[in-house]
Symmetry: C2
Subunit: 331 residues, 2 copies
Amino acid sequence: MKKNGLDGAIVTTPLEVFFFSGFHQDRTNLLITGKEVFAFLPKMFLEHFRETAPYIETAVYENIHHDTVAKIRSLKLRKVVFDPETETYTQGKFWLSQGLKERSGLVQSLRLIKEGEELENVRKACRIAAKTFGLIKPRIKAGVTEREIALEMEYMMQKMGASAKSFELIVAFGPNSALPHHETSARKLKKNEAVLLDFGCVYGRYCSDITRTFFYGKPDAEFLKVYGIVDKAQKAGVKCAKAGLPAVEVDKVCRDYIAERGYGQYFTHGTGHGVGLQIHEEPYLNTRTKSVLKTGMTVTVEPGVYLYGKFGVRIEDTVRITGSGAEVLTR
Amino acid sequence: MKKNGLDGAIVTTPLEVFFFSGFHQDRTNLLITGKEVFAFLPKMFLEHFRETAPYIETAVYENIHHDTVAKIRSLKLRKVVFDPETETYTQGKFWLSQGLKERSGLVQSLRLIKEGEELENVRKACRIAAKTFGLIKPRIKAGVTEREIALEMEYMMQKMGASAKSFELIVAFGPNSALPHHETSARKLKKNEAVLLDFGCVYGRYCSDITRTFFYGKPDAEFLKVYGIVDKAQKAGVKCAKAGLPAVEVDKVCRDYIAERGYGQYFTHGTGHGVGLQIHEEPYLNTRTKSVLKTGMTVTVEPGVYLYGKFGVRIEDTVRITGSGAEVLTR
């Protein structure tokens, strides 16, 4: 707070309330000052919240936002901020009318670096996902549907301790693999088709993200060529990533590798994104990002080439940035 | 548009983009005029979107929001609105700076009534959830953990065609049942404990929500008494609900029934909420709501009594409002 010249900040999104309290629920506001944290919550959550975060002072609200403002006044806090990127327009107008100020990304900046228990949770989520690929691959055979495979993967991940999938799993057979955000369907796998699996799980509320592509049957020359290019591009991206490097450089290494081999126009998305409490979060690794990689960030590296009507190849790992390079966690 | 005196509206949330297009993805804007719908989307979604919604005119954006504004100008639309309840403060300020106006709840009002395919999806999601209770109950025995039961239920629902659970399932044994939003844990069931299951699934992107409470073993007099009160309160709530009734009345019927029997202070939440594309949406059935029930709304009725440290009882059905009453869908 001091470093930012602030007397306090309010936190209202369930994920960010969880980040500070370990309590994940909507309709809860936190007021964080330089000294203390106050929680405003509905009566139904009171006992549960106190058990989870005994160090936070709690108050059952009559009107959550008005009560938060009343506390700010009673503490005589002058410069208290809200995040205009997470509050709705209506809510932001209310905070401004009550004397609060805008400040974006304050909590997000604290979430960039994963340490201690956070990192352990990301690691565990990544290990579970990587193991799942080894277990599911032998079960992917002609006649199974995309949905059957997705369901088995989800079940496996939860059997290994994950609380949920980290997003709607993408299982794409044949030409479906050329749709980067294909919706898993009832389509059956045929002999001699590409298989793309983009999946991940949540462990201790932290996410993992991994993509594997392979060919079921005998791959043709074009698949082998494209696979080789994406694989080398992905490895080059992982190899160059380290603390201090602008994130845009990782994107450039992957993009240039693919473009120089004639497939640039078929790589239609960014190279990666941060992974943490959210499956997609800062920093982004794309052509527009201003972020610089730092030790402790966990990000994906996931170039792809999509030949519409034929097949797509994407290879993705979640990695941890360190001073000397990137440690692959999805292994 | 005409009825609302508008030339157009923009839609930006994935769920509401889905509501109009059948395409569920972030980073997509729709501009809806009295005559046409335009979609602004990233290149990677283009083919997929066109397959899903061939009747919508598509444009790949350079800058999604600026391109949307440029289209509004080129069409000479004067009064175009955004929803200040779904846009962030930052984004709302941008729209206002570009001449758009605030109008809240425009799309939400269209989502209140479930008809045709929407209703069929809610029905199916409810049937799957109700069936799941019958299948899981005999498997709930001393020694199983809450998490094991939650995972099996989720698996069952997806085996029956659901795409996902509609929220983090609540499986609560013993005193955990007294926490209305208990987080499913590794706790094992013991003989002679309450079991509370609050769950639901998603089918065709529409949700269901159901809660069942029972006693594993031989219930004591207090459980039987409380169960009887909640059960009768819930049935009274369902019985009174019909088109034309203020939603607050359903809450009052349940709340009064419980209060008159001395447990009013232990019913710590509202009586229900709308169920649709979101698991919690308008209309809410609580002490503060101004909503009036209408034919085609699908809402929950879910009173509860929570005795902290002992047990809780909640009974919930998703029902469809009609002119003559409420049809229970979770059966």
